[in-house]
Symmetry: C2
Subunit: 98 residues, 2 copies
């Protein structure tokens, strides 16, 4: 089975960057200990004015591993309260061209 | 100077995937020959129903190199005609957490 890539662009309002970073760190600290996690990289826009100021790109061993980790009630409890604060558009991807 | 990461989520309508792929290949064939290009990866969503069915993630040596390559009239002529067909949300990023 091939690795899958999670790409998750976040909308972050002006002044909300520190809160978004803390939110990401809380989620990442939990997820990196779950089976199937490979790696993660949080990207911050270099210049202002882009649609998605932060984009997370993570690698997981499989779709199933990612779904198991993120549907876990412990994870939902951790991220749930702020889930609506940073509108995000996650998807699981495969690399089709390089 | 550190490398910069272009992340470009595309909206692709139903039935438009082949056209989007051809568009990406035409742009990538041009850009990979420009100074400062490092690498590129086109991601396709594994499951339908995501906001961005395709996401390009590319690495460039610098913001200046990327802007020079993409503001080049030869590149604009190549991609211009279809630029509006696939709404996209490009940004240049730095990795701030791993």
């Amino acid at each position: 089975m091939s690795d899958v890539v999670l790409i998750n662009p976040f909308e972050v309002g002006p002044g909300d960057e520190a809160a978004a970073l803390a939110y990401w760190e809380r989620a990442a600290d939990h997820l990196r200990r779950q089976p199937g996690f490979v790696d993660t990289r949080l990207h911050r826009a270099i210049a202002p004015g882009v649609r998605f100021p932060m984009v997370n790109v993570a690698t997981w061993r499989s779709t199933e591993a990612f779904l198991a980790a993120t549907s876990d009630p412990a994870f939902r409890a951790l991220v749930g309260p702020e889930l609506g604060r940073f509108p995000h558009h996650p998807g699981l991807y495969e690399v089709i061209r390089t």
